[in-house]
């Protein structure tokens, strides 16, 4: 009896929200398909959290349409809470509530809760069941909130700044968990400002900057879009003149440092550099050609909208 097995599971169109005359979300639209890991990426204060808060029904949009499984998160909040699991960026629990009690309590809210024991084990909380919330480390609190988001056996889960405060190992474990969650059929809406996380996990990414949708693409697609998609670096055996470098096709940037030359551009740039080197009989020592990362693409995308 799911109302929208055909359409997108999350739909945001023309979303607009302002606080006291300051526009925070300015006409954002995207749809999330069932089974996707969808990233919302952007600098701090870009309007990411406000956007997902409208999806969670915690805020009422000034204009635009938001649907979760075909339901209005504000008018049909109660029904939305039954299909949507939420991990908020900043929240706490009662200081003296133990992990076990929190899991049992939040499981009791859901009509068809997941079994919390395997979930706790999966998140490495099984040795902390008797520990009070206030005594947990930052990472343990974070993992408890992930467990609480999943405990209602939701169709969609919103994770806001999921791995903030986790050490690198816990972060990788959490990423694996998110992939498992998706494999079990849950759609994931992931808010992050952490590029490696978005690149590793997301099928598609909405880049939000200053309240607007700056780009919407796969991680690879976003990287290809950036001006310096490929980075080439080497130490030339003889200096190359600036004019020849500046004339390279598709070149985005050139930097010299300690005799080492770093160029960014397209695949065409790389071909042209190799040709240039051959023609000048210059040897390129320690030659490295790497793809730009999502970091580079992100900086590119969010810089272009800076006045």
């Amino acid at each position: 009896m799911s109302p929208t097995s055909a359409g997108p599971i999350v739909e945001v169109s023309g979303l607009y929200k302002s606080y006291g005359g300051r526009t925070v979300v300015d006409g954002v639209s995207f749809t999330v398909e069932e089974g996707e890991i969808f990233g919302v990426l952007g600098p701090n204060g870009a309007g990411k959290t406000t956007t997902v808060e409208c999806v969670e029904g915690l805020r009422t949009p000034d204009a635009g349409r938001v649907r979760v499984a075909g339901l209005d998160p504000v008018a049909e909040h109660d029904r939305v809470t039954r299909v949507l699991g939420v991990q908020l960026q900043q929240s706490e629990l009662q200081a003296k509530l133990t992990v076990r009690e929190a899991l049992e309590l939040y499981a009791s809210f859901a009509p068809h809760p997941a079994d919390w024991r395997p979930l706790a084990e999966r998140l490495g909380l099984d040795s902390r069941l008797g520990t009070r919330f206030a005594k947990l480390s930052g990472g343990q609190k974070q993992r408890l909130f992930i467990a609480l988001a999943l405990i209602g056996d939701p169709r969609v889960v919103v994770l806001d700044e999921l791995t903030t405060g986790l050490d690198p190992r816990a972060r990788r474990d959490t990423w694996q968990l998110i992939e498992d969650v998706r494999a079990s059929g849950v759609t994931v809406l992931l808010v992050t400002h952490f590029m490696e996380e978005a690149q590793r996990l997301c099928d598609r990414i909405a880049v939000i900057d200053k309240g607007r949708l700056a780009a919407l693409d796969t991680p690879q697609g976003l990287i290809r879009r950036s001006a310096g998609a490929t980075v080439l670096s080497f130490t030339p055996s003889a200096p190359l003149d600036e004019d020849a470098l500046a004339a390279l096709p598709g070149l985005a940037s050139v930097t010299h440092k300690d005799g080492r030359l770093t160029l960014s551009g397209t695949d065409e740039t790389v071909d042209a550099v190799l040709t240039l080197l051959a023609r000048r009989r210059v040897t390129a020592h320690q030659l490295r050609v790497t793809d730009a990362t999502l970091d580079d693409a992100f900086l590119d995308l969010t810089e272009t909208s800076t006045p």
């Binding site: 915690l58 009662q94 003296k96 309590l105």
Partner: protein, 261 residues
Amino acid sequence: MSSAPTPTTPARRAGTLVHPGVLRTEIRLFRREPGALFWIVCFPALLLAILGSIPSFREHDEALGGLRLVDTYVPVTVLLGMILGGLQAMPQVLTGYRERGILRRMSTTPVRPAALLLAHMVVFAGAALVSALLALLLGRLAFGVRLPAQGFGYALALLLAVAAALALGSLVSALTPTSRIAGAVGSAVLFPMMFCAGLWVPVQSMPDLLARIVGWTPFGAAAQALNGAAAGHWPGWSHLGVLAAWTVLLTAGAARWFRWE
């Protein structure tokens, strides 16, 4: 409700308002607060025990209509637990639940955040009634203070007083942005309220004019209603009316100004 950022009124939403799991959790958490347990439940009875052990408190006094001072302090200690809890413990907890995002976290579940506030109030009201009962029993067993002759009237006044304490605590919580400020405001209101209830001078011993002024305050009215019922009269409708009016006013204020975030 607050200004711009919270147009979503959880009270408007459909969902569970009374949740047994939330109530059980709040009872558990309350039992883990030794401070609140002591001040709300034990301290009033302890104070009565100390006062009652002073010989002069057990002498009949013509000025009090033949009552002993210890008799007049039973209603005071009956009210003390709810005043301490309502102004010291409850607002800090409720404001803290909002301040630390606990209400917000709960509003993303099928259970309304109001269920958490309500559960805490129920726990607090229960503790206040246990405290009142302890004071009454101690007075009866240790000092031979007669149980209220007008039991039904006494119970009614007691319940109204608890409701007023709940409403006052909720209003403090509604008006304070952080639990620290809630604590400070609670303390500032605490002392006049304890004075009106007769902690320093029982209302029977207050000068006539002062007693009449105090009778317009929630706990002054409560004290006088309890005194009347203890002596076997139906507690004056004016006192009960003052208590009820305060409860309605304070509740309306709390509902008007309470912010969910």
